[in-house]
Amino acid sequence: MWKSVAWDAINEGKAMKVTRRDLLVWGAGAAAGLLATPVPWKVLDDVSIWSQNWPWIPQPTRGPVEVKQSFCTLCPKACGLRVRMANGWAVGVAGSSTHPISRGALCPLAFAAHQLNWHPQRLRNVRHGSSLSTWAEAQSAFAKASKEGPVVVIDGYSGRAASSVLETFAGKQGGSYRVVATPELRAFTPYEQWTGIPAASLGYDFENARTIVSFGAPLLDGWGTPGRLTRLWAESGAGLSDPQLRLIQIDSSLSRTAARAWQWIEIREGSESALASGLAGALLEQNLVPAHSPVPSMTLAESSAQAGLSVERIRELARLVVAKTPALVVARDDDPAIAALNVLLGSLGNRGGIVPHSEGVKPYVAAESAIGNARAVLIDASVPWEFVPQVEAEIFRFAAWDGGATKADWLLPAPGFLEDLTDLPTAPGCSAQTYGVAPALVKATIEVQSAAQFLCSLDASLPTTAKIIDSRCEDLFRRREGNLYGQQIAAIDKVSSVQSFKEQLWKGAVWAGEASLSKAFACHLKEWPAQTRPVSAETWATQWKPVVMPPLASKLYQESGLREPPRRNA
């Protein structure tokens, strides 16, 4: 039989030697076989699934979700919060619509406040100078200092139970207690001078005002308790040509408030006081207000020249201010000339004006950067980071976040957002007294102490924050007035016991007193205030100067052009 031989196999085909051809055929068989197994298909599928669940992508926590009522403790405006908690961590923040003042609104930063505890700039260790230290060392250093000389305690959020601890300590130690107030609070200091009523007891009755003249105060942009004015403004016919509430914004640039206000009056930068004097002159000149003395020394022409508005325009503005009353003037800061306009307009103590709301509040001592000859300065975490005491004393600074370059000798990690029990006194500018309690909702992941806790641990005779809150609750309950804003609004008469009252407060309910309207009070304005310095301070929300920003805030200024980026601390 004749056999054919493939030409390649002439030599290579001998025996069972593995040839290249065999390898190719084997490979083809293996490839065909592999296609009939799950290998390619399953790997393809699994790799896709892997790409949907990349292990380096963070996964949200699992666990029971609950919603707790609380308050924002980042600044003294005391907005009501609903905090979503999952597995013991705060996973979401929303405004609490039952809160009588903030009414469910919050400033943009608050929506990411729960992330602040994880901020990279979170202060995690006790720091002494540039080196790490311990709480024990800090305590002994402070104890030594307070033995040696007076201690100045500086608070940024007065009226809290913790403030009371600080004040008590300062009193006992022989030092002093001073407050760095927010501009909203400072704006009341002229009235405090003229009437003797403490600034913290005064408030604006926006709800009944018909015209609000704002001298540069960012009323619609985080001024005061944000929700209060924005909701009021929105509900009073925003955008209409004749709204129920006329908002006249006097501003040197088209700020957010100016842009959305009923009227924007453009003036030269820093000429608010001058315009206030001119406006007072125009009001008196046109007999738009009852005759009054003293009268401003500045003439209309001078005012006009400084503000960059024509005399006629100022007169027109004066007519506009009183066209719809009650009219209320709001200053951005403690500018007496602007405050005096309210005296002229008769807004003090009247409906739609400036009203006192609580008794027994002490006038605060404003903290100056020059402190004198203290042995030590204790700075509470609520004090703005920019506040730097100019003093040769040993500085103990509490802070939850490290805002960068500082002259503090001791930097002590304070509780972060909702990590500490605190109470919330009336926010600046409120027309009625309020009170709330924010318990520690989340546990701190690092060792923290508030200034009050720190002092209490040094001096056992000091009352603790919890105790003070307790007694404050009891005092409030005993007064039997106002309402409790919880799940429902209940008059305090309906609350059965002090226990139940406390319980509800601890669950996030707010107690609010009634606004005391038509309680006109005497005002001794001896002379028309001279023009003061141009307005310097801006509110927290507009100047964007919290110690740190939540990372998400970059949505507003970095990932969009909505706002100006924050100015970093030097």
């Binding site: 031989v5 085909g13 490979g27 068989g29 490839a31 592999l34 197994t37 399953k42 029971p64 979700v65």
Partner: protein
């Protein structure tokens, strides 16, 4: 000799590939893990009189599913050792007394991008647990937990059968399994009906 050589070599390659693909591959793809202790559903159902799955696997008031019970639940009965078994010792000493949650390996856990509401399926659609979880609730031994090395999924999601052609009833929890059931019951939901 050479006439069949090619076929033989081809078949050899084919066989090797099939062997690798069907026998070796599944073993390589899935790594095996063991539960922290031998929990027996059967014992709890028969001896301890736990009649309903929901006694431990509760649906909370807000509709969310509690899933595997927290250690407090176990502590309700096992605050002290109830029996002599090794598992009992582990449970009480390692988890209940120190108050740590038992690190159960959840066979049926879906990834973070899946939103599966037990409340809707159980309370509204009245599906029984066995509809998806088969009869694990009556199991008398602890299964080995197999996890896909690539995707990180429990093997129960794909199902034990590699080909998925001959699956036991209720085996597999892939998206296509959900879809199949939804189609049978004529329930239409969009992507975000089941994803989050």
């Amino acid at each position: 000799m050479s006439k069949w050589r090619n076929s033989f070599v081809f078949a050899f390659g084919l066989a090797v590939a099939l062997l690798l693909g069907w026998v070796v591959f599944p073993r390589v793809l899935y790594s095996q893990k063991h539960q922290p202790l031998d929990f027996l559903h059967k014992t709890h159902a028969e001896k301890s009189g736990v009649a309903d799955c929901a006694e431990c696997h509760t649906i909370r008031e807000d509709g969310t599913f509690a899933g595997l019970p927290a250690v407090e639940k176990c502590a309700g009965c096992h605050s002290e050792r109830v029996g002599e078994s090794k598992a009992e010792a582990i449970l009480v000493d390692s988890y209940i007394k120190p108050g740590h949650d038992t690190p159960w390996l959840a066979y049926a856990r879906q990834p973070a991008n899946v939103w599966f509401s037990h409340a809707i399926h159980v309370k509204r659609a009245n599906l029984s647990c066995t509809e998806c979880h088969s009869t694990y609730g009556e199991s008398d031994r602890v299964r080995v937990y197999e996890v896909n090395r690539i995707s990180g999924y429990s093997r129960d999601i794909w199902g034990h059968s590699m080909s998925r052609l001959r699956r036991a009833p209720h085996e597999g929890m892939k998206m296509s399994d959900c879809e199949e059931c939804h189609k049978q019951r004529n329930v239409e939901v969009g992507c975000l009906g089941c994803h989050q």
